[in-house]
Symmetry: C2
Subunit: 272 residues, 2 copies
């Protein structure tokens, strides 16, 4: 692990990342020793920095550190964490020192990828997502809602839980974005009030444009799930997971456009 | 600083407190070498642990550590942080190891206490509080909303910012609870959807019971502030601050029942 470029495993217990979750993170796949979709992750990190008024890290430096950690690993997970660092008085951050930059490499999660590609089991979570446009879309460190939602089940054959907002709109999975296939079109929830705008979600949007598949971002009431032909989930590690079962109701992974899945899955390990 | 009872300044960069804000904290006054309102803070910590399904720390151990850090300090701030520790895979915490317990002592904030007691300047923040009953009331580590709100001003003579929820109800200050005096009664916002249920807020509730002052917890629309006779703020360090000015409108600190202020201020440095 590198912390501000130095091999190190620990951070100050006065870091604002710990005290307040005052920071951002990115989770990337590493393939053949290189971070995947690097440019896209950096772009989202920059977007988050703008929102939180954090100074973005020097991209050349971060790139160098990420490659240094990733080198020699066939498959791994790279996590970048950026916090506002130490200092300031209470919540006020005007006198905070330099940001803290953490680059962590962890093992690639062990999953039966062929089985996941054939469709995963999903449940609906009771924990709701609070709405706050100021924090929506970005991948910040305030993740208690996801922790609580993920704590609702322990069955190993349930791969993901879907989360709604307080108004009952479907937003996303605990660690993934959601897409619906209905009448030959693809829908995905608006993320203007809550949710994380995933890099792989952006890849799906791009794929749909490239393949001329109609895609709509909009508010999605829960009932829309039940009369969808297919559902799928995305994130930077999994690429696309078709949903085979949501709380006992089967869905047909075959109803997802093959070209779209191939387009996204082929590119997910690109260095970007 | 003590981390799990050991003198130490740093935590693992894999601690869930840093990764997800997966934990709780308490901020206490230290007076004459002892943590103040200890029992009350411990009670709220236990309440937060229940909500987040964290194992509460051994109270005897925590008490011993807090006293060890506080000893010899006339006035200081004691911060307890409790996180779910390291481990688990992603948001799932079932395989997380033991909690991390941090006891930090920081200097007492330099403020003109006499001037604050005479009334502080307050502003209304643009940053809203998201609503989530699962997280409301407890003092968890997901504090980006407060950081953003506190970042809205840098004028040193503005002591606090008031925050509304998305529906426009007044909830609290960035670091304090809010009370309104109207027609000889005291009102304070409901904290069932968002906000932190402060220990000093509880002390005010208790004081009102003891002094037979009518107090109502209820939803408070913003307009109720403007036709209040007085406003005041509370937290564990400040006790009670009367509001002298909200965005240019003056309020009369003298309209706050003296007995109430004295009751709370006298007891705020009790060891509890």
């Amino acid at each position: 692990m590198l912390i501000n470029g130095v091999p190190e495993e620990r951070v100050s217990a006065l870091d604002r990342g710990l005290l307040y979750g005052d920071g951002l993170f990115e989770t990337l796949a590493v393939a053949d020793g290189k971070p995947c979709l690097w440019r896209q992750h950096l772009e989202r990190l920059r977007f988050g920095c703008e929102r939180l008024r954090l100074t973005p890290p020097d991209p050349v430096l971060l790139d160098e550190e990420a490659r240094r950690e990733a080198e020699g690993h066939h498959r791994a997970v790279l996590k970048l964490i950026l916090t506002r660092g130490r200092g300031g008085r209470g919540y006020a951050s005007e006198h905070a020192r330099a940001a803290t930059r953490i680059v962590q490499l962890t093992p690639w999660p062990e999953r039966d990828e062929a089985q996941c590609a054939a469709g995963v089991r999903v449940r609906q979570c009771r924990t709701r997502l609070g709405q706050n446009p100021a924090l929506a879309g970005i991948k910040h460190l305030n993740r208690l809602e996801q922790v609580l939602a993920r704590g609702e089940w322990s069955e190993p054959d349930i791969s993901e839980g879907l989360m709604l907002d307080a108004a009952g709109r479907v937003i996303e999975g605990t660690m993934s974005n959601l897409f619906l296939v209905r009448d030959g079109r693809i829908f995905t929830p608006c993320l203007s009030r809550c949710g994380v705008s995933g890099v792989m979600r952006q890849q799906v949007l791009e794929a749909c444009r490239a393949l001329a598949i109609p895609l709509l971002e909009r508010d999605i009431p829960l009932r829309d799930l039940w009369d969808s032909e297919a559902l799928f989930l995305t994130n930077s590690l999994i690429g696309i997971w078709p949903v085979a079962d949501l709380d006992g109701q089967p869905f047909d992974p075959g109803a997802i456009d093959r070209r779209l899945v191939e387009y996204v899955m082929e590119r997910r390990f690109h260095s970007g």
